[in-house]
């Protein structure tokens, strides 16, 4: 987003409070359409007024995140090791316990919504 200088007004014009993002950085404007697109990817339905509020807030927050541009590329040497265990059958939840919080079940299965 930092490479676009396109601003959609309210979100871009609204400087992020006392956020110490560079004042001259490109505005991280987010429009309603983008919010709807991301909400669709995340499978979260939003009301129209929520879309407007989020668009303005995301503009401020993403503009603040853009200060990450100043972070130097850093060597990420971490001592990470895989933690393995033998693949042995152990006691687990019973089928009844595993299904106990499901809204709808049938013959020992979860019942989900229709696919299409």
């Amino acid at each position: 987003m930092s490479d676009t200088s396109e601003s959609t007004g309210d979100a871009g014009a609204d400087e992020g409070g006392d956020a110490d993002a560079p004042a001259d950085s490109d505005a991280a404007a987010v429009d309603a359409e983008e919010v709807r697109h991301v909400a669709d990817l995340a499978r979260v339905r939003l009301a129209d007024d929520e879309v407007e509020t989020f668009a303005a807030q995301f503009g401020d927050i993403l503009e603040y995140f853009e200060a990450l541009d100043e972070v130097p590329e850093t060597d990420r040497e971490e001592e990470l090791v895989n933690v393995m265990r033998p693949d042995e059958v152990e006691e687990g939840l019973s089928q009844e316990e595993a299904l106990s919080n499901a809204e709808e079940t049938e013959d020992g299965y979860f019942v989900g919504p229709k696919v299409s």
Binding site: A39, R43, V44, P72
Partner: protein, 438 residues
């Protein structure tokens, strides 16, 4: 109890003895409150969310089993910001918790119910979870002690995940020694959490550590690092109170050294990008099929999920899922997520270098005094910025404690001490000396 602080979502007792615990155990007679994102078999565990309002776990978290084995009595499940996402406990679907010190103010968050329960005397000890300061912030705001352990010291099995790479369960109590004794009970490797470490296999860690015994107040010869970056920008009243507490430690024989941690200027940004990214993935499981509330929907699979998640999640949770999805999406991944990982590595390196010269690092826990209720709700960015001093320890996987430093304008101020990996004993020792002085 004259005032109801709304510290608990569910008040129910689990006796240590009834679960095969030890009546003479180290926590016998101790009443422990447990944050409501930590699973308790047979007792609903809501995460402060409408989504899980009726969820009853079929198993308990490892930390719950360990508390009961140590003889503790669990007295209830505490209020919290929804899924741990907040700094005030106001994003809970069960209403805000009030700060027992001043009921007009927030208790901090996200483990606000846990800190309020301890501060109000409704529990001796409480467990919280700390992803970016969620144990230390409410401890500071309520005038009690909170410990965020080294990543990998305490099992997360049964903790409902928000941002796995950052979070640890930690104790809150009225004194450093009580919090340390609870840490003794819950710490240690767990085959059910592959990220826990066995201290005997960690270089420099003490496998026989007794955290309670470390609360001996002996800071003679200890070197305390003072990072300028974590004092700049903090409320003057907070800084004065913290500096006075550090001066008391000097009177007790500690030395101080100014240090610089330039990377921490980017800690809040890195923390939120990483936490939101992990949250967007972790919370994908809440689709209303296997658990959680499901919306009445005539739509297909995708529409039903979207409606379930619209109804079940509050605004802050939706905000973080969406921003996390955005930060991971094609075209933005390198700009946000990769840079945040660079910042995380930089923060880790800064602390490693600092610990070559100092034993612990001191700062205000929170740069501000407790907010008034409702003050920050409509301004998420302002709330995020309050996490400036707590998020670095999560990014660097380090142990940290918040201990009361005194009061400013009648409100509690917390002093934070951060130590090297698996050196909980040093931060506990230093914190107990802060207590001795006040």
């Amino acid at each position: 109890m004259a005032v109801d602080h709304n510290a608990f979502i569910t008040e129910e007792t689990i006796e240590g003895d009834a679960e095969g615990g030890d009546a003479d155990g180290p926590l016998a007679g101790t009443a422990v409150a447990v944050k409501d994102n930590i699973s308790t078999e047979g007792i609903r565990t809501t995460c402060g969310s409408e989504m899980l309002a009726d969820y009853v776990p079929p198993y308990s978290a490892t930390v719950v089993d360990r508390l009961l084995d140590a003889g503790a009595t669990i007295v209830g499940k505490t209020n919290m910001d929804e899924f741990g996402m907040g700094t005030t406990t106001e994003t809970s679907a069960f209403g805000p918790t009030k700060n027992p010190v001043d009921p007009e103010r927030v208790p901090g968050g996200s483990s606000g119910g846990s800190a309020a329960a301890v501060a109000a005397g409704e529990a001796d000890v409480a467990l919280g979870s700390d992803t970016g300061g969620s144990v230390r912030c409410p401890a500071a705001f309520c005038g009690v002690v909170g410990i965020k352990p080294t990543y990998g010291l305490v099992s997360r099995y049964g903790l409902i995940a928000y941002a796995n790479s950052l979070e640890q369960i930690g104790p809150i109590a009225g004194t450093v020694e009580e919090a340390a004794a609870a840490l003794d009970a819950i710490a240690g490797p767990d085959p059910r959490d592959g990220t826990t470490r066995d201290p005997s296999e960690v270089e420099g860690a003490d496998p026989d550590a007794s955290y309670a015994a470390a609360a001996d107040g002996d800071v003679d010869g200890l070197t305390i690092g003072i990072p300028t970056e974590l004092f700049e920008g903090a409320d003057e009243r907070v800084v004065e109170t913290v500096e006075a507490a550090i001066a008391d430690l000097e009177d007790q024989g500690a030395e101080t050294a100014e240090i610089s941690l330039p990377s921490v200027e980017h800690a809040v940004q890195a923390y939120y990008v990483i936490a939101m990214a992990e949250a967007s993935s972790n919370l994908a499981r809440f689709d209303g099929v296997r658990y959680g509330n499901r919306a009445e929907s005539d739509g297909n699979w995708n529409e039903s999920f979207a409606e379930t998640r619209e109804e079940g999640f509050g605004a802050e949770v939706k905000r973080r899922i969406l921003l996390g999805t955005y930060a991971l999406s094609a075209g933005y991944h390198d700009e946000y997520y990769e840079k945040a990982q660079d910042a995380r590595a930089w923060v880790r390196r800064d602390f490693e270098e600092a610990f070559a010269d100092v034993d612990v690092i001191a700062s205000p826990t929170m740069p501000v005094l407790p907010f008034e209720l409702g003050e920050s709700l409509d301004d998420p960015l302002r709330m995020y910025l309050a996490d400036a001093n707590t998020t670095p320890a999560n990014l660097a996987n380090l142990p940290a404690i918040s201990v009361p430093a005194g009061e400013a304008d009648g409100l509690p101020v917390g002093l934070q001490l951060v130590g090297p990996k698996f050196d909980e004993e040093t931060v506990i020792r230093a914190a107990s000396a802060v207590e001795d002085a006040s």
